[in-house]
């Protein structure tokens, strides 16, 4: 075998190897949630529903913080807003938009109640969530 094809084969092998390594190197992890994804499980589990996953990123593309956190009165705290379905039906909290006019209506249960059952209320990847806690104090 002449030298040049051999060299090409070597380089090809190397590149293929590197690509394979890069693919394998995608780290495992249970929470690949997006930064700022909020899990709300104040009442869901007890009511036999999946917890709600609220994607901040999706909403901030469409509305500035002002809309929900000033106009609609959402507190800056995961689980700190006493949201229930009755209030949503009445147009409070999520119901201000999720009314089939601005966004999908409340009949689409499975679009908001999408979380893994049993997850605790929290903001994913938040700094305080990442503070090291003794294993016994961890919620999950």
């Amino acid at each position: 075998m002449p030298l040049k094809p051999m060299l090409a084969a070597g380089v090809g092998l190397l590149v293929a190897g590197l690509i394979a390594f890069a693919l394998v190197n995608v780290p495992p992890g249970d929470a690949q949630a997006e930064y700022g994804d909020v899990v709300i499980n104040n009442y869901s589990d007890d009511a036999g529903m999946r917890p709600v996953v609220f994607p901040h990123w999706f909403h901030r593309i469409r509305f500035r913080c002002n809309v929900c956190h000033a106009e609609l009165g959402f507190e800056f705290k995961a689980g700190g807003n006493d949201i229930n379905m009755l209030k949503i039906f009445d147009g409070e909290f999520c119901g201000a938009c999720h009314n089939s006019e601005i966004a999908w209506g409340v009949e689409n249960c499975v679009l908001c109640h999408t979380g893994m059952p049993g997850m605790r209320t929290r903001v994913h990847h938040s700094t305080s969530d990442r503070l090291v806690a003794p294993p016994s104090a961890k919620g999950q």
Binding site: M1, L3, M6, A9, G10, L13, L14, G17, L18, A20, F21, A22, V24, N25, V26, P27, P28, G29, D30, A31, Q32, A33, E34, Y35, G36, D37, V39, V53, P55, H56, W57, F58, R60, I61, F63, R64, C65, N66, V67, H69, A70, E71, F76, C97, I102, N108, C109, V110, H113, T114, G115, M116, P117, M119, V123, H125, S126, T127, S128, L131
Partner: protein, 245 residues
């Protein structure tokens, strides 16, 4: 042996050695690439994975891993809702949700948080979020006032721009509950921020995380300030012998 045969033999040996070297380099490179990954926790991955790669060897005790308190790093950014670990793939609605990758494809990037530079995205018009629920044309009520907070030590001072914040938020979101609108009236510490107070009410939850130090600590101390600081913290203390130049 003919000359061409010798050359072929040499090439084969070189290829084999090269492959082995490449495989090892591959491991090393992925380790390196890991450290460059956004999120800042990647080194743990490469070490954890090195363990699994060398599985025939005796594994070190699980009690003495590289950093037993460090959480496993979050995976590659922007997993789909189906496999991000928090949405239930068994729920039919999960499969209808938008992927972050799709939403973020034309937005300016950063290395942390959502890997989106939201302030620039808004400024450049890459996104056009409403400021008011009812009125699509409502303009943000902004204020152009920059606050510089002097901080301890050699850490650059914090520059706080009201402009960027009021593009998104209402005055009442911060004043007076989180920050008293008066100079010197607000005690802010990184400890408080890490616990989700003060700036940490948003930064480290939805706004860019606190690991991006220099986005806030952006005004370097002057040379004079740094000299004074060095003088004050000189070691050994003044009266304990001659000082080295």
């Amino acid at each position: 042996m003919k000359k061409s045969d010798r050359l072929t033999l040499f090439c084969v040996v070189a290829l084999l050695v090269g492959t082995a070297a490449l495989a090892m380099a591959g491991m090393a490179v992925t380790g390196l690439a890991g450290t460059k990954k956004p999120g800042g926790q990647a080194p743990v991955v490469s070490i954890a994975q090195a363990d699994t790669v060398n599985s025939p060897k005796k594994k070190p005790s699980a009690a003495n891993t590289f950093n037993r308190l460090m959480k496993k790093p979050a995976s590659a950014p922007h997993a789909s809702p189906v496999d991000d670990g928090i949405h239930d793939p068994e729920n039919s609605g999960t499969h209808l949700l938008q992927w972050p990758t799709e939403a973020f494809q034309n937005l300016p990037g950063t290395n942390d948080g959502n890997r989106v530079d939201w302030v620039t995205a808004l400024k450049e018009g890459a996104i056009a979020p409403r400021y008011e629920l009812e009125d699509p044309d409502a303009e943000a009520f902004t204020m152009d006032l920059v606050i510089v907070r002097e901080v301890k030590g050699s850490m650059p001072d914090v520059v706080y721009p009201h402009q960027e914040h009021t593009e998104w938020l209402d005055c009442t979101n911060c004043h007076d509950e989180i920050f008293v609108p008066a100079k010197g009236e607000n005690q802010i510490s990184m400890a408080a921020i890490l616990l989700g107070q003060k700036c940490g009410v948003c930064h480290g939850k939805v706004a860019f995380p606190v690991t991006d130090c220099r986005r806030c600590h952006s005004k370097p101390k002057s040379v004079e300030q740094l000299r004074a600081l060095a003088k004050r913290s000189a070691w050994p203390a003044k009266d304990s012998g001659p000082k080295k130049q």
